[in-house]
Symmetry: C2
């Protein structure tokens, strides 16, 4: 099944907003119903592919037949940009500036190498395409002219499993649920559950240095990767002979996060864990975000470490309550405070022990256990936020998310700075927003902050309207000592701030690598690094 | 205090071998007493510094005075090569081919930048020098002509500590015990205890991607590093704004393991842990290396994870027993089997819980607990092996170590291949060796093997004699799927095998980085990467 072309996920799972919520949006935020129905897929005019038939024939030869080179309008539209709110607004406005010239579907590593050779011969940029879930402009090569979208969906095999070492080698086009199903046959799990889980791919996780909701227990995706194969225009790079090594810089960590700019990831060797027999998620209430943040820090630093650990600020906690089916359901009083989700996965004995230890710490630090209900509701709805965004857009509202991370001592200042930047910019633009936040991932030394913004769309171009606020948030992040992205990545959208974060010499080092692996600059141009 | 110039450590801690052990070496291995006393420091003829006075004056200006530019024979000899056995054999043979032209002592980052500028102006190679403990030829720039040793000992400050985030920023010249003492004043520890602990420096740990004996609990040094500053001829690179990020490749992991070839590390921000109130080490006996290896794998994969976890093979266990003060002391019967050290550090409650859980697993898998005595003896002697090596060399024997790592399923084959390669090569050369091994570090997905070789020195050049065996071991490691080094690094000695491990494109990517940061190729030439 294909993802909804102008929104998120499986159209059958759409969750329209109840009328009372729409009423609230209109009253509180001044959201106006949209003026016209957006165009249907068939209504959008897509110019014919600019590629010569001879080029298309060469590409077809590279991937084993013309069935695997698509130039029809629908396929090309379905590979246009990713799933940020600006991406959705643009496609709903029938903006086809970023449509690929062709969608090419390789069956394996050798096909990818052959495609890169053809593209090098014609100076044709290549954008690797996994699940298409980028929310940072990772799939739009900065208006560089015609380009090929390299859709990896045919590369969806479990290539190898080593039960003794607990490793598996996976192809990049495997979607996460499919990968989990294949590993579960052997009793294993990756433990990687980002919000994009249902659609994102193994290659995308690696290319974008993804982090999942259970990272406190299982680590980030970059912690899980033991080996990678990268096809580049200059040949193949294979990295990872041992779990850890002192033999030079860790080349795995140079490929992870390279976002298709250095090459196409054609296999990923990952660490496995046994499927946990027990999964238990609970809600905890704290009086304030600051109080809850201290409790999360304590657990992250001194343990026992839960598998899932998150904390919503006051606004996000309240808005969670504003959902009609949730009001009053989780035992939170009117003064909701801040809701934390604390989850444990593992054996019965291990989860019981950690849960008991964590409960002692959380209680000591002011937390009140709300039992399993809020935890189970979180687990049930953990992949549903992007559907909710579609419904908000349908209702004429604007909704988007952004995220960052910093060391613990900087978290309070970073939180205030980003929230204030978003609030001030959008209020000044006439659309005072709701800004919500949660601590989404915790580490010994810091945490990630994940912001959600909901407002009216404002007058004029909604993308430009948001862009001002987004840029203000980016500036606030850099000024307050945060990283420009903790798990969404860089893409086109964060590139100019990433360049400042990495510094001129850091960027120069990465550009040197890119020039060596991709001398013609054909791989995802403008993504991650500036074009020369 | 300076390290012993032609051996290891503090001369006052020398531990001469008892006569019965020397007797055993002669009987078992054919070790012959050395024919002549090696030269004293003052006996070695060192040519005068080839640097022009004008250059020396420029260097003195860069580091704040001529006191900090040394050209005397003793200082230069003390900065000649590192502490591998070939290094010791060469210096004991008065081989001064690798003596630096000058030893320069910068006081801080700006001094380092200034030194690099002077050296660039004169095309003078620079070798960063921390504790001087490299055992892979990391301090000898491959006979490239005159070079400067950049001794970082004056850069020994704790620059910053953040008790909330549990981070500290350290200067690179801090020796580990000094760093631990400074951190202990704040209640913290790094938890990094490699065998070189007493002499190695923070900068060296980072540059060489070091791993300590408590890595099962505290992680490797590359796990501990949150930020780095690198001074290069092209400017300064600052990396690490957050504990983790999705903003591009992890540049920290490009600097870690760069062995001075990309720049000089001038500060390191590290993760801290509270000083553990409890440290408890125990011995366990297994019938065989294979049986014990399975038990270690189980603990590494399913926990509870000890802080220290090591396992000696049958030979190493037996030889441990052959030390007179140990015979019969640890309750092992004549058929010693294999000794594991299992250690726990942390709070009373946490260590008790993990110890109990681990004991259940180890017992289930065939282990017998030997109590605290072997553990305490290990802890007491954990930094003494290099002293023992000096005594073996003094007695006319040859002794050296090497190490590798691989995924668990490859460990048995790797163990046999390396042991057999060393045994066959040295036996064929007329010096049948004792080859001992232990699993020194464990991970979810694999482990490190650490080999110790003792034999007679053979006829002729002892370095050439060993080099044949070492090369055979390197070939065996690559063929059996291991990495050429798990914690010693690449240096000059492993470079040609590292090039094969990283592959042509991996090496090309790193060379591209080097050319960008060090366009004249002046930084540690020949170390890590081939010179062009």
């Amino acid at each position: 099944m294909d993802m909804l072309w102008n929104g998120w996920g499986d159209p059958a799972k759409a969750a329209p907003l109840p009328e009372p919520v729409i009423g609230l949006l209109r009253e509180m935020l001044g959201v106006k119903p949209r003026e016209a129905e957006p165009p249907g897929l068939a209504d959008i005019a897509v110019p014919g592919s600019p590629l010569e038939p001879a080029v298309l024939r060469e590409l077809a030869t590279a991937v084993g037949g013309e069935d695997h080179v698509r130039t029809d309008a629908e396929t090309r539209l379905r590979h246009t940009r990713g799933k940020s709110t600006p991406d959705l607004l643009r496609i709903r406005a029938a903006d086809v500036t970023d449509v690929p010239a062709a969608v090419v579907l390789p069956a394996g590593h050798d096909d990818v190498v052959a495609v890169l050779r053809v593209c090098a011969g014609h100076r044709l940029p290549v954008v690797p395409f996994g699940g298409g879930t980028s929310v940072v402009g990772g799939l739009a090569p900065g208006r560089q002219g015609p380009f090929v979208a390299l859709d990896l969906r045919r590369m969806d095999q479990l290539l190898d499993i080593d039960a003794v070492s607990r490793t598996a080698t996976l192809q990049p086009g495997l979607r996460a649920p499919h990968a989990e199903a294949l590993l579960a046959e052997h009793g294993f799990t990756l433990g990687h559950f980002p919000q994009s889980y249902e659609w994102a791919t193994i290659g995308g996780f690696a290319a974008a240095r993804s982090s999942g909701q259970a990272s406190a227990g299982y680590g980030r995706f970059d912690d899980m990767v033991l080996g990678l194969t990268l096809a580049t225009p200059e040949g193949t790079l294979d990295v990872g002979r041992a779990p850890r090594s002192a033999a030079g810089p860790d080349l795995r960590q140079l490929v992870l996060g390279s976002e298709g700019a250095f090459g196409v990831i054609t296999s990923v060797t990952v660490r496995l864990r046994p499927v946990p027999p027990v999964r238990r998620y609970e809600g905890w209430r704290f009086a304030s975000f600051a109080q809850g943040g201290e409790a999360l820090r304590r657990l992250a630093q001194d343990g026992p470490r839960p598998t899932v650990l998150r904390l919503s600020d006051e606004t996000e906690t309240l808005i969670g309550l504003a959902q009609p089916d949730a009001i009053g359901a989780n035992g939170l009083p009117g003064d909701a405070g801040c809701l934390a989700i604390v989850g444990f996965e593992g054996t019965e004995e291990d989860t019981a022990h950690r849960r008991e230890g964590a409960a002692t710490v959380l209680t000591e630090l002011g937390g009140t256990c709300l039992g399993a209900e809020p935890g189970e509701r979180w687990a049930h709805g953990r992949y549903s936020a992007p559907y909710l965004r579609d419904s908000l857009l349908d209702a004429g509202a604007f909704a988007e998310t952004l995220e960052t991370a910093a060391f613990w001592s900087r978290i309070p200042g970073l939180y205030a700075a980003v929230r204030d930047a978003l609030t001030a910019t959008l209020t000044e633009a006439g659309t005072p927003p709701l800004v919500m936040c949660h601590i989404s991932h915790v580490y010994d030394n810091g945490a990630s902050l994940y912001f959600t913004v909901v407002s009216a769309q404002g007058e004029g171009d909604p993308v430009a309207h948001w862009t001002r606020a987004k840029h203000a948030a980016n500036e606030a992040i850099l000024a307050a000592g945060g990283t420009i992205s903790h798990h969404h990545g860089v893409g086109n959208d964060h590139r100019d701030w990433y360049v400042r974060e990495a510094g001129p010499l850091g960027v120069a080092a990465l550009q040197a690598v890119k020039r060596r692996l991709d001398p013609d600059g054909l791989l995802n141009p403008g993504v991650l690094l500036p074009t020369d």
